[in-house]
């Protein structure tokens, strides 16, 4: 029990994932700044932001709306993200959970933050938040199938294994899945899914600043917004980690391999950051078309290729 709580709260759960995620978020912001010829924020900036929101800022509750749900939603988001983080990071850190079929659980847990955002947005009673919520819903509908196809591809590649630990072990003993054509296709699909899950440009319509002024988060302030920030930090770490686990060999935690693990995470984050900095925002219709048509097509091609052993 104590071990489980430790797993959940400290390592590799809440605390660890949040701290690493915050550093990655700083990395993202720094790279963004360098792309834009700026100097960028100091290293501790994500922590300043988080502590300011958590400790200092006042939380304003919506008058027209449901304050309780409005406040609970971000907590659920943190909970979902942390749970997903535990399930993703334990196998990655070479700790077997003995839980066969955790891949599907992770898949569901990863959608909890998005759903919590929607619930929170609708509970705030703000029309712009409602627009943001409906956009987020459409976005989830469009990318979830693609994400499922990606996971299906991995399962097929690994010989019907639903266990993340086995998948990582299979890669470490054989070759990483990204080394094949289908693996590359799945990687591309995965990157775009992460982009949409993190709601980064070009898929940041739910919180489009220039259109609907933060959209789903428009009414959040203070500690509630700090929870959302925390979720974002955690998601910013676990999603790239999940992709690495699925396709890029996972982590190995001995000697020089730690460096490789760090570099792998940074590389995936770098790709995400560069995509987000060189594209304008898509419209929701374009996003649906992009995922439902093109990404699904790509994923299906990958599945066919896997079937033929490429």
């Amino acid at each position: 029990m104590a071990v489980n709580l430790f797993y959940f709260l400290v390592f590799p759960g809440l605390l660890f994932a949040a701290v690493v995620g915050a550093f990655l978020s700083w990395f993202d912001r720094k790279i963004t700044a360098r792309v834009q010829f700026r100097k960028g924020p100091p290293l501790l900036q994500p922590f300043y932001d988080f502590f300011k929101l958590l400790l200092v800022k006042e939380t304003i509750l919506p008058k027209h709306g449901s304050p309780l749900i409005f406040l609970i939603a971000p907590v659920f988001a943190v909970f979902g993200a942390t749970m997903a983080g535990v399930f993703i990071l334990l196998p990655l850190l070479n700790i077997t959970t003995g839980f066969r079929g955790d891949l599907l659980v992770i898949f569901y847990l990863l959608t909890i933050p998005s759903f919590s955002y929607i619930v929170g947005a609708l509970a705030s009673g703000n029309p712009l938040a409602a627009v943001g919520g409906s956009r987020e819903m459409k976005l989830i509908l469009s990318y979830e199938l693609t994400f499922l196809l990606l996971i299906a591809g991995i399962i097929m590649k690994c010989g019907q294994q639903f266990d993340l630990y086995t998948i990582i072990k299979a890669q470490q003993e054989g070759s990483p899945f990204i080394g094949s054509i289908s693996g590359v296709l799945l990687f591309i699909v995965g990157i775009f899914c992460i982009q949409a899950k993190l709601a980064l440009v070009p898929f940041d319509m739910p919180e489009a600043e220039a259109e609907i002024t933060e959209g789903i988060f428009i009414e959040y302030s203070g500690a509630a917004y700090a929870m959302i920030k925390l979720t974002k930090y955690i998601m910013f770490f676990i999603l790239p980690a999940f992709l690495i686990a699925l396709l890029m060999n996972g982590f190995r935690l001995d000697g020089i391999h730690i460096l490789w693990a760090v570099l792998k995470v940074l590389a995936v984050v770098l790709v995400i950051t560069l995509i987000r900095n060189t594209n304008p925002r898509v419209k929701i219709k374009q996003a649906i078309k992009f995922f439902v048509l093109w990404m699904n097509l790509l994923a299906v091609i990958a599945l066919v290729l896997i079937e033929f052993g490429y």
């Binding site: 834009q36 010829f37 627009v131 956009r135 259109e211 304008p280 419209k283 929701i284 219709k285 374009q286």
Partner: protein, 374 residues
């Protein structure tokens, strides 16, 4: 108008109303758009103006002609120099002062530099409206270089107040020619980069092509001028049709398109930057010698009558109309501001599009709110 108001107040037909602004990042100031939506579709929208109405026209009636310059600066602050030029030209026309060539040429160069920096800022904020934050920083980075030139010559970065009735406040800085040439050389290299970053992107094409179409007839009947009008095929460049300052002695192309959608309003502005650079290059090497200002009386009194002068600002045609009763203050001043007219078309072209398109269309009209409200 009445019909629109009715639409906004009923909520039976699943319509709901949102307020964009007065504080909204994509209205570029304090414009307020009352948008009634069905889902995300814009049913109708109604601009509310006046949130930055400072009464400039009324203030002009109690100050002298030299002082007007400092208020027109703050009207359309991105075309500050061109606004001033309009007032100066009106006063000079009324007094029938012959302006030396040197002043004309310097005014033209400064106007074109102003136009480029205005379009750069527009490009930056248009990119930001579409979600491409990097565009914002690219645009502002290059804009700083023009502001440096302004600062060296005029002493101020943005609100230059460089014109005065009868010429210029002071002579150009000795470095002026060198710096301008350096900038042109630099910017010719950089401008294709803008294309790569934004207009080379598939997402951008899909978001802008065919969005917010404005036909030639509508452009003319609404009186849309500037790059927006020219993108619809309305040949309305005052520099071409009624040349002022040094525009009659240079060759340049009037950028004209026929499609009139957001994409072509974008391309029209990019092409205008190229043309502006051409104009500057033709003039920069042969600035004639001579005085930088004509000796004027310390108190300017216009003869009784009505005077009108129009110029081409970065956003369209700016008209200055002055009625004088022979005093040192004008009797009435009226500015025909391009933004006010351009705003009027927003409801017409944005109807039926999504709210994301509304932001793109509003961005492509390039509105400066203090110029609307004056």
């Amino acid at each position: 108008m009445e019909e629109k108001v009715k639409n906004i107040t009923t909520d039976e037909q699943q319509e709901y109303v949102i307020n964009m602004g007065p504080q909204h990042p994509s209205t570029h100031g304090v414009l307020r758009l009352v948008v009634s939506l069905q889902g995300e579709k814009v049913i109708s929208l109604q601009p509310h103006i006046g949130y930055i109405h400072r009464g400039i026209e009324k203030m002009c009636e109690s100050i002298t002609y030299q002082q007007i310059i400092h208020l027109t600066d703050r009207m359309d602050y991105l075309s500050a120099h061109i606004n001033n030029e309009a007032v100066c030209l009106t006063v000079e026309k009324a007094l029938e002062v012959e302006i030396p060539d040197r002043i004309k040429v310097i005014r033209t160069i400064m106007s074109e530099l102003t136009r480029i920096q205005s379009h750069q800022l527009w490009w930056a904020s248009f990119g930001m409206d579409l979600g491409g934050l990097t565009c914002f920083f690219y645009g502002l980075r290059d804009r700083e270089k023009i502001l440096d030139i302004f600062e060296e010559t005029c002493g101020s970065r943005m609100i230059v107040s460089y014109n005065c009735p009868g010429g210029l406040m002071y002579d150009v800085h000795p470095n002026f020619q060198k710096r301008v040439k350096e900038f042109i050389k630099y910017f010719r290299k950089i401008l294709p980069e803008y294309d790569q970053l934004l207009s080379g992107n598939v997402i951008f094409h899909e978001r802008s092509k065919g969005i917010g179409k404005l036909s030639l007839e509508d452009a003319i009947s609404y009186g849309i001028t500037g790059p927006c009008g020219r993108a619809s095929g309305f040949s309305c460049d005052v520099r071409k049709h009624e040349p002022y300052s040094a525009y009659d002695r240079i060759k340049f192309k009037e950028v004209l398109f026929t499609e009139g959608d957001t994409y072509h309003r974008y391309i029209a502005r990019i092409d205008e930057m190229w043309e502006s650079m051409n104009i500057i290059e033709q003039l920069i090497d042969n600035i004639p010698e001579g005085p930088y200002a004509v000796k004027m009386k310390p108190v300017i009194k216009l003869p009784e009558g009505e005077y009108y002068q129009r110029v081409e600002t970065a956003r369209g045609e700016l008209g200055v109309f002055i009625i004088s009763d022979g005093n040192k203050n004008p009797y009435r001043v009226k500015f025909r501001s391009p933004n006010f007219v351009n705003l009027s078309v927003l409801n017409h072209i944005a109807k039926g599009f999504k709210i994301a398109d509304l932001v793109a269309i509003g961005g492509s009209l390039d509105l400066v709110i203090p110029d609307i409200d004056r």
